[in-house]
Amino acid sequence: MTAPTPNQIKTIAELGGLAIADDVAARIAHAVGPAYEGFKTIAGTLPMDIEPATFLVVQNTKAVK
């Protein structure tokens, strides 16, 4: 996973229903780029059977000190 470029962000935003100017797309790329970088080692590595609700399963597993 790589951080999206301003052009890619412009496309994603328009698909999401928000038209944005070039400078806004550039600012968004600058703002979210480090977070993409931080998450890239996780992206694409998760096993198939994990779903968002797995969080609740783990959360409600009896705590063991």
């Binding site: 994603i12 977070a35 968002p52 959360q59």
Partner: protein, 471 residues
């Protein structure tokens, strides 16, 4: 017990004093209003001050008590809360221009449970616009000021809650914590704040920012006060199906339990890096105090917190953008520049990335729990430094605004992603008398343990009793 100025009492002290008719609700309410009249011009902590209505409600509470009728443990106690908890018939601005005149038609479950316990409404407290910012700036209503030093920020987004509780304008206040919004104001303003486990307290009727991460919790003067409020608010709510159905523990009993023999873990990395001198010293002093109280302190090797922090950031921006999309399209001019810019960030995240982040929460939490085997709670600074100035954090929507925000929240965001409880307690002051807080991070739904350790710390120290003075 200060009967001459009831507002200086803690929540548990004032509720006991009113119940025993040592102090009337009117006296308590007048005391808070008197202090508010003096402090508000310097702090801007209140969004609305409803003096006449509060005094009338206090008189009703006193009359009921005279007849032997008490609504509950907070009978007649005046409180004000972050202006994002819907209260039927009252304007709830959410710190925004968009909802400047919006009148709630329902009451939030958390607030209703406190009302059912007998509270009196003082008014509402300032906050960051739509709870989306960690410093306390607000483009529409002005920054809230730190009562310890009015040139410094309060932290946000529960800015008014932190400021008003610290200045003793309200005995406690609700905040909300999605990325640090209870713990940061607690840390910067020198009060106690509890970020609760995701699912412990209903979010029904609380303005949403990020539905996966939003939590309701109190800011107060003591751990005991936080325990009292959390116990009243926690528990299943049919209006919020994400709330847990497990029994609510006796949190007040937890504050009276011994912490001797418990074990606190200190992270080997991340939370101990790049601390300013005052914060580093406060961490060492806190460790020393815990040891003196018979608590074991060990090092823990946590998973990479930078990944958690990144995941939290991407999750919040996406959910916040989805929540606000309609207004972003229809009335973007009505947002403050920084809030609009941050909301726009969510439109840079793909659906697949969002779902990967949601899917990773379970494995990430499992890895964290495995890493803290053998410890009862983890101790870490809330932020690398004490409160910065309002001026140096007034970055608007500049290119580097997000970087500043991420620096301030770097120690809080990982905990939100994992959905864990974390208690922020005052642990010291800088040389210039700015408060420094630490967070005790627990296991899911184990608020009781962090309350036990936090209460033990407060029995051994007096940081939480210190009160700022009006310059």
């Amino acid at each position: 017990m200060s009967v001459t100025e009831p507002a200086l009492l803690s929540l548990t002290e004032i509720s006991d004093a009113i119940a025993q008719k040592k102090i009337s609700s009117r006296e308590a309410t007048e005391s808070c209003l008197d202090r508010t009249a003096k402090w508000q011009p310097s702090l801007n902590a209140f969004m609305s001050i409803e003096a006449d209505a509060a005094l009338a409600a206090a008189d009703v509470a006193d009359a009921a008590l005279a007849r032997g009728q008490s609504k509950g443990v907070l009978h007649g106690v005046p409180l004000a809360h972050k202006d994002m908890y819907y209260d039927e018939g009252h304007v709830v601005t959410c710190g925004s221009h968009i909802r400047r005149d919006w009148v709630a038609t329902t009451t939030s479950t958390a607030l209703q449970r406190l009302k059912d316990a007998g509270t009196v409404r003082l008014g509402s407290l300032q906050m960051v616009e739509f709870a989306y910012g960690p410093t306390g700036h607000n483009a529409h209503y002005g920054a809230v000021h730190n009562p310890w030093h009015v040139d410094h920020v309060t932290g946000g987004s529960s800015s008014g809650s932190g400021s008003a509780v610290a200045a003793r304008l309200t005995f406690a206040a609700l905040g909300s914590d999605t990325g640090g919004s209870i713990r940061l104001p607690a840390h910067f303003c020198g009060v106690t704040g509890l970020k609760t486990t995701v699912g412990l307290i209903s979010r029904a009727g609380a303005m949403p920012l990020s539905q996966s991460l939003d939590t309701v919790g109190p800011l107060a003067r003591t751990v005991e006060d936080c325990a009292l409020l959390t116990g009243l608010m926690a528990g299943a709510d049919p209006l919020d199906p994400t709330t847990s159905t497990r029994a609510v523990p006796d949190y007040m009993a937890a504050t009276r339990a011994s912490a001797k023999g418990m074990t606190v873990g200190i992270p080997k990395a991340f939370y101990v890096e790049d601390l300013d001198d005052g914060t580093a010293q406060a961490l060492q002093d806190t460790i020393a105090t815990l040891k003196r109280e018979g608590i074991h302190v060990v090092e823990v090797d946590l998973p990479d917190q930078r990944q958690l922090s990144a995941a939290c950031q991407l999750l919040v921006v996406t959910e916040a953008a989805a929540i606000h999309k309609r207004w972003m399209v229809e009335r973007p001019q009505d947002y403050g520049p920084q809030i609009l810019a941050r909301l726009q960030n969510g439109f840079g995240i793909s659906g697949v990335t969002y779902l990967e982040i949601m899917r990773w929460r379970g494995p990430a939490l499992a890895a964290h729990l495995a890493a803290i085997t053998g410890v009862d709670a983890v101790l870490a600074p809330v932020s690398p430094a004490a409160a910065p100035t309002i001026l140096e954090t007034d970055v608007g929507n500049s290119l580097d605004a997000e970087a500043m925000i991420q620096r301030v929240t770097r120690f809080t965001r990982p905990i939100n992603y994992l959905g864990l409880p974390a208690l922020s307690i005052p642990t010291g002051f800088t040389a210039s008398k700015l408060p420094i807080g630490m967070q005790l991070i627990g296991r899911p739904f184990d608020e009781a343990t962090v309350l036990t350790i936090g209460a033990a710390f407060q029995r051994a120290t007096d940081f939480h009793t210190q009160c700022p003075e009006l310059a």
